[in-house]
Structure formats: C-alpha cells, structure tokens
Symmetry: C2
DNA sequence: AGCCACCATGTGAACGATAACATGATCCCT
DNA sequence: AGGGATCATGTTATCGTTCACATGGTGGCT
C-alpha cells in the first residue's frame, strides 16, 4: 500500500504504458482507441481497481456533477418517498444520482441545505416547498441550475414546477362532501405554519364552504402534526367543540386513518354517524371495513417528470421558461362518505 | 450575465481588491484575516452571491467530498427511511450530506451504485445489504473509505457493522409463540432471494422449531413480496394447505398487518383462532382492536450510530477494525399472540 | 536602536481529470 | 509514387481551489 489513497489515471497509464489521455479515452470514448490498447488499458484498470474521480473530471469539464439534489420536508414521510423514487429511477437511467436533504419543515434549514448542495455543483435541484427564505430565493435564481418545485402548483415559481393544485383538490373534496348532503363539515390538517400545501388546502376548503353558503367557523377547523394518533385527537377535539359535525375532511398525512380508528373505537358508524374524507391515497385507506374516500396524487409521476424536465434542460440549457406541469389528482369515492 | 456560469473566488478577490487566497481564508479561517479585510471580502461575497465550489476544494485538498452515500433496497420502505433519517440528522450536524441510492433488492444494481458513488469520493458508504457481488466487494475493500453495513449483524463484515441479529430476533419470536402454547407455527416472509435478512429470519424460526421438536415443513413456510395484500394472501395460502395452523409469524414489512386484516375479513378471532406475530413495530401495529405482537428494532439509532462511526473514522483514519455494534431489538407482546 | 517573533497577505505549484490542438503512421485515390 | 484524409496517440494548458512557502510590516523586548 502506498501513501496515496486512490488510484489515478496516471497510475493506470503507467502500468498500461500509454499516456493519461489514452486511458481517459478508454473510459469515455473507447471507439477512438485501438482494440489491443483497449484491452491492455482495461486490464490495468481492472488490476488496479481504478475508480474515476468525478470531482476532477467535472471540475475540468466545467460540467455539473452527476448529482441532483432533492429537499423534502421529511424523509420519513412515505408520500415524499414516492416522489423521490420517481426522481431516482428516472435520473439513474441517465447516470445521475440523488443527493437528499430533510428540511424538517423549516425554511431556514432548507436554506442551509440549498447552500450546501449548490456547493456540490449539482445538475439540478428539486424542492418540495415553493416558499423559501429571501436568501434561498436569491441563491436559486443565481445558481444557473434547473430548479423544480413539486409540492404545489405555485403561481410564482422559481423556475420549473411539476405538481397539482392543493387548493383545487381540497375544494373538490369539500364540494363532494357538500354534494353528498353533509352540512357541518369540519376541516383538519397538519400544522399550517410554513406549510404552503396545508394552507392551500385550507383555502380550498373555505372556498367551497363559502360558495355553498355553509357555516365557516374556527370551531370547524383544527391543525395538528401528522400522525395516526393525532387524527383521532383531531376528531375528538372537533366533535367536543361541535357535536353537530357530520363530516370531517382530514387533509393531510395519516390523519384520516387515525380518525377512522377513533370512530371505530367509539362505535360510530361511518359514514352514517360521521363521514370521513382523506387526502392522499395511502394503501391503507382501501383496507378498512369502510374504505376511505380520498384524493389520489400521482406522486411517483411528479418525481419522474421533474427528472425529465431537468434532463431536458441539461440537454438544451437555453430552453428556460417552461410552463408549470399540472399532473392533476383524482377523487376516489369509497364507503366513508 | 457573462458567459461564465458561476462566480469564482477570483471574481470575489477582484471585487474586494485582495488576492484569491485571502478570500479563501475569509471563508475557512476567518480568524487569520484582519477585521476590515474581512468586512470588505464578505461584502463582495454577498454582492456577487458567491457559492463555493466543493469539487475544486475537495480535489485540491485531497479530502473526500462532504457526502456520505447510502444504498437501501427500497426508498419507499419506511423502515429504511427511519435509518436514513438517523444518518442524515447526525451527518448534517457535521456538515455532511446524504447521497441516496435504491438497489431494488438487486446486488447487480447495488454494485453499479457503489461504483457511481465512489466516483464522487464520498466520506463514507452505508449499505443496508451485507452480501455483495464479488466485484462490489473488491471495490469496497479498495475504496479507502469507511463502509458501514446496517441490515444484519453479519459474521464477516466488509468493515463496520451496526445492526441487530435477524436470526436471534426471529428465533426469540418463535420461542415466544411456542411458550404461549402454539404448536403449528407457520412462517411467512418477504422473498428470500438475495435478501440475507429474510434468510436469517427463516433460519432463526427453524432453529427454534427444531429446538422445541415441533413440526418443520415446507408447507408451513411461505415467501412473498412485502405488501398489505400479500400478508392476507400468505395467510390464505398457508391455511389452505394446512388448516391446522394455529399461529403465523409474518417476518417482514407489512405482511402481519395484511394478515390481521384478512383475519378480520374472515371473522377469525385473534389470537384464539389464529395468533399473528409481526416483525418491525410499525406505528400501525398498535392500532388494531387486537394490537399486534411484534419486534421493535431501533432503526433510527442504527442510522445515528452508523454516522457516528463514520465521523469517528474520519477523525482518526487509523482506527480500523472496530467490532460490530449490536443495537439489539425488543419483543413487544401485545394482544395478537 | 536592533533583533526577532508574529501577523496579514501574497505567490506559485499542485490536486486529477479533460479540451484543444499536435503529431506520426496508415490508407486510399489519382 | 505523391498528397491529403483518417486514425491512434501524445502534449500542453486549464478548471477553481488549497497547500506550502515567501514577504513585508508592526510591535515588543532588551
């Protein structure tokens, strides 16, 4: 073992008795190298266990690194995982890999991550949030890198957008509940602060409520961190305040599932005693005795399309100003409403 | 806009009327720079929106990039997500970020990811698998980078290990079922091929069965991809073959939950008609009418400790040969057994 | 005053690769 | 047989940063 950590092109070149440049060609443009040189160099590469140094390569080529950075509010939320999978699959088949950050729903943290990631000169940036600190916004503008926002069909995007309208989705679900005859419709969601998606869903709910002339009241709204237990808690708080509630729209994460469990504990019939509507078609939503009416978002596709937009931009950097891509959503009517 | 994409140290230096080196020092060792130079340079940095180029920095410093690569069998499996979160949290507080790959349970794919990741000169590698292709094994040995395997307390690790014994965990659960009086105990797991963890769990099950002198039979074992529905299918297949089964140990993913749902559909009392044991304490396991007995693995801690080992090794590269870290597991006895 | 230590800053080379150009050999065509 | 095109390979400069060393000014101590 020599003192040097890694095998370099120069080491391979020496062993194969060719120049560095020839080794480089063997790796990148083998058709430009004669058959037997190719064989000799490949042998040396294998024997030495050469692993290219992308840092050096990308630096000299002034090309971005073969990495795309993604920042999600929570790694452990399987909804975001689906989008990441779409991203990762699509990028990988183009030789690009994923750098992942977890902003923990904090814009300040997101800003720090953006700075750290940009230092790696990624080929692109995918952000779940579309509201950022001013400083983050400035960095993104100047980065000279495709930026895709995927959490909401935001009106004033930084660059590219692939998403769906949280507002429309929540409005549609509320309209559905109204059409089914419910009149005291409550709304529960994850915490609103810094979460544009939750805010938009709330706006959508209120819009439908107002349009139908139904009661709009703070009593009918509740926000709480997303978890099973909290879905039950939300239901409890709301119905304690207002026993006349006949439907709850739980617009986030696993809240609806928690609410279903709570209804079962209480022996409440769904939807007769209480209708339950969810957001996001968790596999589990289907599996209750009374399966849950919910909104299905094509989250894998969001990731896939985000990747495609980045790849396209890399091929053709001048093609800026692409309009937002609306992947839509689907209301899945099941037994709970 | 000039033709150049990014602002360089040289641009900042020019604007602040100092040398490149001074700017570099402002960023890395500001205590070596006089107060007013510091102010002037920082102003220029802000005005130009300078973002360091880690590619160049890490190249020259011959230091690894501030990235750690992790490869999991499936991004969308929330169990792995928990470990990733532990990793990510711990690394980030040390200025290191995560590169993420999804091997889709394939060793060939894992090998490709390892090669691609090593090219980025990461500070470390975290692998969920502990069995690799020969070529992957060779790369890992030669990489000169800390490698942590986290999926199983494997006997012949590549380098570092932080995990628990799948064998012992499955054995313990099987012993628990035996102690509770069950005699025809079936075993269902995710697909075994290339999945060392599932294989080890099966070994643990068989070990306990043999030790107790109970029936060991292919009829009592079933493997299927992990999903809700497949848990129900596993239960159906097993009891079709062998109606005398009185307990099923579902050692993987969400199979146990699927089996519970299937029991409910059939109106089977758990555990009277059929005992159900799971592996991995999904939040959901608690929330059935009959909550599920299961094994809790400290998956977040696995990630955290893996990160700590890497950080330690970076500080002190000579400290090789650390023994495996066993984080253990816990059998959580609930109503289903 | 003279000397040395120290502090702030600058200079030149180097990290490992690639781009652009240069070279010499081979080949084909007239 | 001569000359340009083509092919395989080599040479030199460069990417943006950091390292190692050099330099000049300031201050304290005797």
């Amino acid at each position: 073992m020599s003192g040097r950590t890694h095998v370099r092109l120069a080491d391979v070149a020496e062993r194969a008795e060719v120049s560095i440049m020839t080794v480089s060609r063997v790796l990148r443009t083998p058709q430009q190298v004669s058959a037997d040189t190719l064989k000799r160099v490949n042998k040396a590469i294998r024997e030495l266990g050469y692993v290219p140094n992308s840092l050096a390569g990308d630096l000299r080529a002034a090309s971005p690194s073969k990495l795309v950075a993604a920042i999600v509010p929570s790694i452990m939320n399987s909804l975001f995982a689906e989008t990441l999978k779409g991203l990762s699959d699509t990028l990988r088949s183009n030789g690009i890999h994923l750098m992942l950050g977890d902003s923990e729903y904090s814009q300040k943290e997101e800003e720090a991550l953006i700075a750290a990631f940009l230092a790696q000169r990624p080929s692109g940036l995918v952000l779940h949030n579309s509201t950022h600190t001013p400083s983050a916004r400035r960095m993104l503008k100047r980065a000279g890198v495709p930026v895709v926002e995927v959490g909401n069909l935001t009106p004033r995007p930084t660059d590219l957008v692939v998403s769906y309208s949280n507002f429309d989705a929540a409005r549609l679900m509320t309209e559905h509940l109204i059409a089914r005859g419910y009149r005291k419709i409550a709304f529960a969601s994850v915490l609103l602060e810094g979460n544009e998606r939750a805010q938009e869903r709330r706006r959508g709910y209120l819009h439908a409520i107002d349009a139908a002339g139904l009661e709009r009241s703070d009593d009918l709204m509740f926000a709480i961190a997303g978890s099973f237990d909290n879905g039950g808690i939300a239901l409890t708080r709301l119905t304690d305040r207002r026993p006349d509630i006949d439907a709850v729209f739980l617009a986030g994460d696993v809240l609806a599932i928690g609410a279903m469990l709570e209804c079962r504990r209480r022996g409440w019939k769904v939807p007769e005693r209480m209708a339950i509507a969810g957001f996001d078609d968790w596999e589990f939503s289907r599996h209750f005795d009374t399966p849950i009416t919910t909104l299905a978002i094509p989250r894998y596709d969001i990731g896939r399309i985000a990747a495609e937009l980045i790849l396209e931009r890399l091929k053709n950097p001048s093609a800026v100003g692409k309009p937002p891509v609306d992947v839509g959503f689907e209301l899945i009517h099941r037994g709970s409403t």
